[in-house]
């Protein structure tokens, strides 16, 4: 049994035979023909390409696991898009597929004559940034989440994630006390120092909230999370991945089964898995609105499930990119580098060069607007925008106002310096706080 392609077979055989007679290998002949066609095609392409006009470009180089996290990396690109609109620049993207790509990507970006600012999004790009910024001293470089080696053209932008995490930790704990749940949860990605800030900040916020309850709402003191031993209050784990959403689902499902009222997503796209777990619990119990809740990260992820995502810990990477671009456009970048010592730390209520730049914020309904657009770009929104707004408002209104007021109180205290949220960047500090808080 065979498959024959009729008709042209005879023709091809004839040509084949002809060439064979001439001692010409058909294979070689065909290869040569293909090469000629390719050469002609490429020549035509190169010749007809329009001459490139000089354009002011900014290049955003993302980290591995990169785009598609609906959080960190996507925020970086969002900032670039905002800058495109407001400053009339063009953003180009380079997505790193492995760590080996960092250097070549940064070099490719810097080598492009139109690119004036190269942004590296991620802690892991530090070394590569430090190398390339020295190779291209007339270009400006910015690194999110870490500090490249000291250079006049290199700026590191850090965020005070620990403070924001404390806020949402307090929020979750207050809710747990109100609804009589024994735990809150946090689901983390790969155990890197940046994530330690989230972990310890969250746990510290929980502790602060419990103290607050003891002082202000003593009637809730002996139940729910306040009754749980301090080291068991926060259920936490490092899933070891920023891409396997199954882990987010499994972890969250286990945490909700253990009666955690909220799971804080610190692993980018794993929020989808967490969301799935929440939906399952909701469907099984016939709930239309949380509890249980989950808490988004980096971007405002409330739009993904407005009746169950109570808030997000926004890390405004987009502002970092946006304002850095503004500095470059205004030619003040090098001055900023000098005045800040190469490190720009964005937190709650920060001001840089007279411009208020909020780096960290717990999301509210105003932020939701902005991110509904963001979500719409990533795919269809789970429901029409108007429904999202209504549901989110309903969810927030449904929680007693003293909870929201308490969180505001914490925010004020943090901004004033009345309380200090621990900043855990090294193993010793982390071990110390884990010893106290679990």
């Amino acid at each position: 049994m065979g498959i024959l392609i009729n008709g042209n077979k005879m023709e091809v055989l004839k040509i084949s035979k002809f060439l064979d007679d001439k001692g010409i290998n058909v294979t070689a002949a065909i290869v040569i023909v293909i090469i000629v066609i390719a050469a002609v095609g490429i020549g035509a392409y190169v010749a007809t390409r329009p001459a490139a006009k000089p354009v002011f470009k900014i290049a955003v180089v993302s980290d591995i696991g990169g785009r598609g996290d609906l959080a960190f990396n996507d925020m970086g690109f969002k900032g670039g898009e905002m800058a495109e609109k407001d400053f009339n620049v063009k953003m180009v993207e380079l997505i790193s597929k492995s760590e080996a790509d960092y250097l070549p990507n940064l070099r490719a970006a810097a080598a492009d004559p139109d690119v004036k600012l190269v942004v590296g999004v991620g802690f892991l790009l530090t070394d590569a940034m430090s190398t390339v910024e020295n190779e291209y001293p007339n270009k400006d470089f910015m690194n999110i989440d870490s500090v490249p080696a000291a250079a006049p053209n290199g700026l590191g932008v850090l965020f005070e994630e620990h403070k924001g995490s404390a806020l949402v930790g307090a929020l979750a704990t207050l809710l747990a006390a109100y609804y009589d749940y024994p735990h809150i949860g946090i689901c983390l990605g790969i155990e890197i120092p940046v994530l330690w800030k989230f972990e310890i900040g969250y746990k510290w916020g929980c502790d602060w909230a419990v103290s607050w309850i003891e002082n202000n709402k003593p009637e809730l003191e002996n139940r729910g999370i306040c009754a749980t031993p301090i080291k068991d209050r926060v259920l936490w784990t490092y899933t070891g991945t920023f891409s396997d959403i199954t882990k987010g689902y499994d972890t969250a499902k286990a945490m909700y089964a253990e009666d955690a009222i909220a799971v804080y997503n610190v692993a980018g796209p794993l929020g989808i898995g967490i969301n799935q777990a929440v939906n399952e619990v909701a469907a099984a119990k016939g709930l239309k609105m949380g509890p249980p809740f989950w808490i988004g990260v980096d971007s405002d992820q409330d739009w993904m499930n407005p009746s169950f995502c109570i808030a997000s810990m926004m890390k405004r990477v987009d502002y970092g990119v946006y304002y850095t671009t503004e500095f470059v456009v205004d030619n003040t970048f090098r001055d900023v580098v000098q005045s800040t010592g190469g490190i720009m730390t964005l937190g709650i209520g920060t001001t840089i060069e007279g411009i208020p730049i909020t780096g960290i914020k717990m999301s509210d309904l105003n932020d939701l607007e902005d991110f509904i657009q963001f979500g719409a770009a990533a795919g269809k929104l789970p429901m029409p925008a108007e429904n999202i707004r209504t549901a989110a408002r309903a969810l927030r209104d449904n929680q007693p106002s003293w909870i929201w007021n308490a969180v505001s109180e914490l925010q004020t205290k943090i901004t004033n310096g009345q309380v200090t949220v621990p900043l855990a960047m090294t193993e010793n500090v982390v071990a110390y706080w884990r010893g106290i808080l679990g």
């Binding site: 001692g23 997505i95 892991l124 890197i192």
Partner: protein
């Protein structure tokens, strides 16, 4: 003249056809979604091979690939489907990072020791699969895949808890005396490539110029004849696993000791993932020959490096390159593909 050309090129025909088919289907995929395939391929190949710096960068990408190709190729030569390079690379890298970053040794000895340690760890991870195969007949496809996953978690654990330096997301960077010197400034290519090429040549010599190598190849092509001739097929398999482990461990070592700017193993294993997997494609393109693997590795390295330009300039996701590799592998699976196409019939 054309006749001579055809004699030399005969063994290249099947991989050549596979590549052409792969690129053709890739072009089709580009067209379907409205991308310009000519622009795409122009930037892909120009990006990989279009300038001296880019060729050098391509060689840097090729370095580990030619080694993981050896792992698979040497397995095939012995009749095994050893896809454990992934995991062996992780563990080998961890081993190299341990010596390179944490143990101080005199210059010259340090780098040799770190590299050797990496290779040794690679073999360590190859042994479980070998033992399971020889003792219980567990098919190496299953055992090596599972071991790859176990290795991933084990390697992350080792980095985070044991090998990490002051920055917990990478192992302690290799000390200066443990680094392969940078060959060309402004690129990622280090002297590790010489070690890689040398290793491939040594494996070639082993397979074709020694008795043990001959026995290994015989066990692969004709186990019954080998047994009849008194050759221990089991021993050949064991040697195959060991050589594969050495190769993969070396690949891991090159990524730690021979790759700026970090010279360390990342906690998310980002600088070593997929190397084993790509090695399979490279080996097949090189017709499971260690030297052929070198050229195939350069080709794929070029595609991997050029992919970023394709994405940058034309907007085509660079993962398409991996997809094209997959199609090439599928085409290579069919023996005598060109002959079939020529005869326009399947027998």
């Amino acid at each position: 003249m054309l006749r001579r050309l055809s004699t030399i090129s005969r063994p290249l025909v099947d991989p050549g056809i596979a590549v052409i088919l792969g690129l053709a289907i890739g072009a089709l995929l580009m067209l379907i979604f409205g991308y310009d395939p000519i622009a795409g391929y122009y930037w892909l190949f120009r990006g990989g091979f279009g300038s001296i710096k880019d060729i050098v960068e391509t060689l840097a990408f090729a370095t580990p690939l030619m080694l993981t190709a050896v792992t698979f190729a040497v397995g095939m030569k012995a009749g095994l489907f050893n896809i454990g390079a992934e995991g062996q690379v992780y563990i080998g890298a961890a081993g190299a990072a341990a010596i390179g970053g944490w143990v101080t040794l005199p210059v010259g000895i340090h780098i040799a020791a770190a590299t050797a340690f990496g290779m040794f760890f690679g073999v360590l991870w190859a042994l479980p699969a070998a033992i399971l195969k020889l003792w219980r007949g567990v098919h190496e496809v299953i055992s090596t895949i599972m071991l790859n996953y176990v290795a991933r978690y084990l390697a992350i654990y080792l980095v985070v808890y044991w090998l990490a330096g002051p920055r917990a997301e990478v192992s302690n960077p290799a000390m200066g005396s443990a680094r392969y010197p940078l060959l060309v400034g402004g690129t990622s290519l280090t002297a590790a490539i010489f070690v890689a090429v040398a290793f491939c040549i040594v494996v070639y010599a082993f397979l074709w110029r020694t008795r043990a190598g001959y026995e290994l190849r015989l066990s692969g092509t004709n186990p019954e004849a080998a047994n009849y001739a008194g050759v221990s097929v089991r021993r050949a398999m064991l040697i195959s696993f060991i050589v594969g482990g050495l190769a993969a461990g070396l690949a891991g070592a090159t990524q730690v000791l021979g790759r700026p700017p970090t010279w360390a193993l990342f906690a998310d294993l980002g600088n070593v993932i997929e190397l084993g997997f790509y090695g399979i494609a490279v080996a097949l393109m090189g017709r499971n020959h260690p030297i052929g693997g070198i050229f195939a590795a350069i080709f794929f390295g070029g595609l991997l490096h050029g992919g970023r330009y394709m994405e940058y300039q034309v907007g085509i996701a660079s993962e398409l390159v991996t997809g094209i590799q997959g199609i090439i592998v599928i085409c290579l699976a069919v023996p005598g593909l060109w002959a079939i196409i020529r005869r326009r019939r399947f027998k």
